[in-house]
């Protein structure tokens, strides 16, 4: 900032260039992690920039972003969308991943960033190899695209990247995440059914959602149950179709005398088809959908598109001010869901 010559003069790229004994265009390339320079040079200049306290001017960053919104020149940078699904076909089959990815890519395009899908896993890239590839190609933005509950860490040097997670709060070290507000979803479903005259609402939760989503759903259900009937303990059932899930569910519905059942991440049409028709018919079925965009019954549809868009918006803001690494106090941004009647 050139506004005053006294105490508050900003450290500029020219200062870094002087200290590193290179031209300032080299500094610019190094700080944008461009592969035109050797990795060693990039690293050396980055260290010097850090030592003498260089920070990109945030207002210039905003300015550049605004410019890109007006008249897209060449791409401003690349974003890697990282998934741990086993292969491209599995990715294409997953409605959840596909929708998150396509909305994220649209938003990236709007902000003039490019986005590419990278698959990590035993048969795919290892995380270490992925980070080599990204660094070599000058891609500094990473989105963790709804990683599986079992993926609890990735061997990546996070200090080199800007990273935002999408429903990947299980990954350590924790990064900032965007997620559906499953807590609010469970409360909303319960309240809607009770307002509609149901007295005894049960929750069926898919066994493979991961502890984070699972506990958010349970928390919402428990708060509502306690508000309604403080003395009641709250039953919920974990559903695993491969482990005698249908039989277990049948028993459970019979023993608890429900008049409504909310499925979370469970295909209810399959469930109700397996249950005696007169029992199934006497129940109101509702669904908090996590994987798919629609069902036939009362439903809280997922927010995949919002998640993708918001994650990119957040990531681009961070890229603008070159905010790399894992945050000391990670946060989670939750999106509220809406209740949808059967006709919707």
């Amino acid at each position: 900032m050139s506004c005053d010559g006294n105490e508050h003069r900003r450290v500029t790229m020219s200062d870094v260039a002087l200290a590193a004994n290179v031209h300032k265009s080299t500094v610019s390339l190094a700080l944008r992690n461009q592969s035109k320079l050797s990795a060693a040079t990039r690293e050396r200049i980055r260290r010097i920039a850090e030592q003498i306290g260089y920070r990109p001017d945030p207002m210039l960053g905003l300015f550049n972003l605004r410019r890109r919104l007006l008249a897209p020149p060449r791409p401003a940078g690349g974003i890697a969308f990282v998934s741990d699904l086993p292969n491209a076909a599995a990715f294409a089959r997953s409605e959840r991943h596909e929708r998150i990815f396509s909305s994220a890519r649209e938003e990236a395009k709007r902000l003039n960033f490019t986005m590419e899908l990278f698959l990590v896993g035993p048969a795919q890239l290892s995380p270490a190899r992925l980070s080599q590839v990204l660094l070599a190609r000058g891609i500094t933005g990473i989105l963790l695209g709804a990683l599986s509950p079992g993926t609890r860490s990735l061997n990546i040097d996070w200090s080199r990247f800007c990273v935002v997670g999408i429903e990947s709060t299980q990954v350590e070290p924790r990064v900032d995440n965007v997620s559906t507000n499953y807590f609010q979803a469970a409360r909303l479903a319960y309240k809607a059914l009770v307002d509609d005259g149901r007295r005894n609402v049960g929750f069926v939760i898919a066994h493979d959602l991961g502890t984070e989503i699972d506990s958010q759903l349970r928390a919402g259900y428990l708060v509502e149950i306690h508000a309604q009937t403080p003395s009641r303990t709250a039953p919920f059932c974990r559903f695993d179709p491969d482990e005698g899930g249908f039989e277990h569910l049948r028993q459970w519905i019979k023993s608890e005398d429900f008049d409504a059942v909310v499925g979370c991440g469970v295909d209810l049409s399959r469930v109700s088809a397996q249950i005696q028709p007169e029992v199934a018919k006497s129940l109101t079925w509702a669904s908090i959908d996590i994987h798919r965009a629609q069902t036939g019954c009362l439903c809280i549809p997922p927010l995949h598109r919002e998640l993708g868009r918001r994650a990119v918006e957040l990531l681009v803001t961070r890229l603008q001010i070159n905010l790399r690494g894992v945050p000391a106090n990670p946060d989670t941004t939750l999106f509220p869901v809406e209740w949808q009647d059967a006709k919707g």
Partner: protein, 356 residues
């Protein structure tokens, strides 16, 4: 997602120039008031600019203001922080609101915005004064800072600003929210009490806090009781119907006795004094932890809530809205939660350690 931001194709001065059939530098002169051009031309261009919806870009204005100080009346984006119950007394005690304000200021400056604090609790402030201070022509964003359920209602034309609330989830307007994750706070408090060997764990929450967080404390308690398979100790709500203190003390003492509690987790910072007044003097009688510590305190175990970070994230969220020119209340409105950190302390030793 904020539905206002998806058609952000801006009208530029080049489009105004095209419509007015002049060079864009003429438009610049006409609109900035700095160049020498005939008054009639200036007026004509101004009218055309208004018709086709040209608005100066606040980001570019602030940038040029930074780089060319003293040149014209450009300004940085301005944020107003509406703070709850502000007083010099609270400042001196290092109250929550100061930490929030410090975090907001730190991040706002980093992102090139100016910040003004407006204390709602001040007796001098009325609705008209708030409106005057938040004049939309010189205010881009508003942060509603941790206003509690007892505060007077805020009536502003929210559609004219970018808006972020801190905590205050319960109140109107519905907007982008940044808050402490009290569900996580309660949950990790239970998890750590469990780790320290406690099993009969009770949570005593201020009625106000419970309402202001829309039951997040309770949610954390229930989910922790469930996941740790703890006995179902009911939550005790403090300060119900503004009861007098002796009544509260009696209720707490009864609750502890009835459920044979080993530890009390509370949102009241004065939880130790409360237990002392119940006749339970220290870790030998009963342990305790505070759910809303501001700083590490070796004497008092509990969860530190990071208000400074919450302030920072609020300013970041607001700068993002301003940057993407999203005015008005976002629908659906996202909420960003920042977790707390557990801290061991003398008030909650390993369970049973004192008896040997």
């Amino acid at each position: 997602m904020e539905n206002l931001g998806h058609d952000v194709v801006r009208v530029t001065i080049k489009q105004v120039a095209q419509a007015a059939k002049v060079h864009y530098s003429t438009v610049s002169k006409a609109l900035s008031g700095r160049g020498r051009i005939p008054a009639a031309t200036r007026e004509r261009i101004r009218q055309i600019a208004e018709q086709i919806g040209y608005q100066p870009d606040p980001v570019m204005q602030s940038l040029s203001a930074q780089r060319n100080p003293g040149r014209g009346a450009h300004r940085e984006p301005r944020i107003v922080f509406l703070a709850n119950r502000w007083s010099s007394d609270e400042l001196a005690r290092g109250a929550v609101v100061r930490r929030l304000a410090d975090g907001v200021r730190y991040q706002a400056e980093l992102m090139g915005c100016t910040l003004d604090l407006l204390p709602l609790g001040d007796a001098m402030i009325d609705a008209a004064e708030i409106e005057r201070q938040c004049d939309p022509s010189r205010t881009d964003g508003i942060i509603v800072g941790a206003v509690d359920p007892l505060s007077p209602r805020l009536e502003l034309d929210w559609s004219r600003y970018a808006v972020v609330k801190i905590d205050s989830a319960f109140m109107l307007p519905t907007s982008t929210l940044v808050a402490n994750d009290q569900m996580q706070v309660a949950r990790i408090a239970f998890q750590n009490a469990f780790r320290l060997g406690y099993r009969r764990i009770g949570m005593a929450v201020g009625q106000l806090e419970e309402k202001a967080t829309q039951n997040l404390y309770s949610a954390g308690c229930y989910v922790a009781q469930d996941e740790l398979a703890l006995p179902d100790v009911p939550i005790l709500y403090l300060g119900e119907q503004r009861e007098d203190y002796p009544t509260t003390v009696r209720r707490v003492a009864d609750w502890i006795r009835e459920h044979r509690l080993q530890i009390v987790l509370s949102t009241w910072a004065s939880v130790r004094e409360l237990l002392r007044d119940c006749g339970l003097a220290g870790p030998d009688d009963i342990s305790c932890g505070c759910l809303c510590l501001n700083d590490p305190d070796p004497a008092l175990a509990g969860v530190i809530q990071h208000h400074f970070v919450v302030g920072q994230k609020a300013a970041e969220a607001l700068a993002m809205l301003i940057m993407h020119r999203k005015q008005g209340l976002a629908t659906p409105s996202a909420a960003t939660y920042v977790g707390g950190t557990w801290q061991d302390g003398v008030s909650a030793p390993h369970y049973g350690a004192g008896e040997s």
